[in-house]
Symmetry: D2
Amino acid sequence: MGHLNIPVILGTGRLGRRSEAVARLAVDELKERGVVTSLIDVADFGLTATATPGAGTSLDVYREMVAAADGFIIVAPEYNHGYPGELKMLLDADYAGYGLKPVGVISVSAGLLGGVRMFEQLIPVLTALRLIVVPGVHVPEVEKALADGRFASASLQDVFSSMVDEVLRLAPELRAVRQRLEA
Amino acid sequence: MGHLNIPVILGTGRLGRRSEAVARLAVDELKERGVVTSLIDVADFGLTATATPGAGTSLDVYREMVAAADGFIIVAPEYNHGYPGELKMLLDADYAGYGLKPVGVISVSAGLLGGVRMFEQLIPVLTALRLIVVPGVHVPEVEKALADGRFASASLQDVFSSMVDEVLRLAPELRAVRQRLEA
Amino acid sequence: MGHLNIPVILGTGRLGRRSEAVARLAVDELKERGVVTSLIDVADFGLTATATPGAGTSLDVYREMVAAADGFIIVAPEYNHGYPGELKMLLDADYAGYGLKPVGVISVSAGLLGGVRMFEQLIPVLTALRLIVVPGVHVPEVEKALADGRFASASLQDVFSSMVDEVLRLAPELRAVRQRLEA
Amino acid sequence: MGHLNIPVILGTGRLGRRSEAVARLAVDELKERGVVTSLIDVADFGLTATATPGAGTSLDVYREMVAAADGFIIVAPEYNHGYPGELKMLLDADYAGYGLKPVGVISVSAGLLGGVRMFEQLIPVLTALRLIVVPGVHVPEVEKALADGRFASASLQDVFSSMVDEVLRLAPELRAVRQRLEA
């Protein structure tokens, strides 16, 4: 049935963003598992407050990547108990391409709660986009969370690995469902 | 005790934004009531996905406006059941200046639900910023909501007027509270 | 593959509840479409503030109904912008039985917003239970919403019908997915 | 101006509830600070799924306690990423008595995230009730969180103490505001 394509969306563009290393870890994990992946970096699309996400913009590339994907991993920090604005702008640039695809979210924070409030706010948005949200991964104290390209905490590494398992378990099933329903 | 200063934050920068007329209506209402106000337009701060909201940027102006305010009215549309990314980026540019000030939110949508889901998602964020959220105004079918600089619906005009009443009722009280607590 | 079984959960037990007529309408619609269904009435399980939802209680019946279901329709009003407590108590009585089944929610209110805030709060809970949430139906001004066993508004009837379509479209597909994954 | 009255609402009635010890700790702390307090136990009001919270019920007592209060502390666990149903039923039993009073929430969980998702879901409900929500306290791994009538973790004890400070700082100010506005 062909390889799975699961891009990783990095949802913060701020200078010094700690989430980037987590996103690269997720890309590496997917590659090790034989999945086609790429990093969709929110910083790469020229998003501005006045940009309208219409056709003929750099966001066409984003929409093509979404259309080609079988699922997603989103990595993003929590700002003031919500999601980063730039992540929302990027997600809002498409609508049709997300439907019935699985998404795993890795929330990131400098604090003890691992950005889980960001994830909770994202769930209704992702549901509005018809994505299927699997249980998330919440990374506390991100500045010391990684070691040697893995999560330093064995239990966090397990949670992450289970999340990837679940996305990869659902992705081919849901691809088959989409194909049958659209046939 | 001096005049009240209640700026109106316009929380979408998209071309053709319908929320702008609603924001201007709110500015006019505040002026008619003798309140000092101004339009804080999210489009005016050069926000981009890679901008870090640090000192020495155009966001210093925003932070000064927040510090000088006695309360806020926010006008914004709902996108995919959440808040506009550019509004979140602007709100995230300050932290200390919001505390114990009242905020009224006018949510806007082309649909029948008036953007209330946007408002519900915004409440935990505004609470994290220590703003005091009064009951909101939800504007459905925005393209036909205004007539002659007022809301075309008398009941919506009443809800709007009550929201402004409540912000203006709380603003001087909370200013006095802040002054006593900081003394 | 056998008939689909889609119970309707009535999520309020208050005397005079308007949601009951909406739930009965949903039961009738499912029956007309040849689906096996039943009304799971939150009032029927002896729920109290001190009841612990363990084995050997009337909630065993609920758990059996959940286990046997291929999907769900939930009908509930909004109270103070959240979900009814009794609905939450009932949902919390199971965990394992919901996974990868579709759920459509019909929110109900006496006001103009159709209880959509209740639905938004329910989405993260339903996602935690691993249900797959399809786009909801929001019934405003419930006291005049029904006529002759249908929604009085043709557009609301269409939205309701599309929601049922989507639950019935996904239910057999997801049943097959569950069977394959558990095999 | 008279003593402050800050009851503690215990928001779970389940057998073996760990939140009770946390609620008793909050009662003790308030008493040590010279505040009038009491434990409002959700288990004490005969709440059932079919009870309507009208006049002439045991909930009249609850409404009198709410009316007499200058603020609240709520202690409750997280169930399936939301609030306990019995807590919502109790909160829904009043409306008018909460307005412009401060509330501090202590969320409790057996897991690492301290029940913060419960708190995030509660914020829009408490805001609908016109309560003023101060920053919360999130108690992870509750079974080992307490020692000698305090939080075992010094940093958690500090967060708790700051939350109580903030409720007690705002309560007399907001009482004065209510009195002026109602005069």
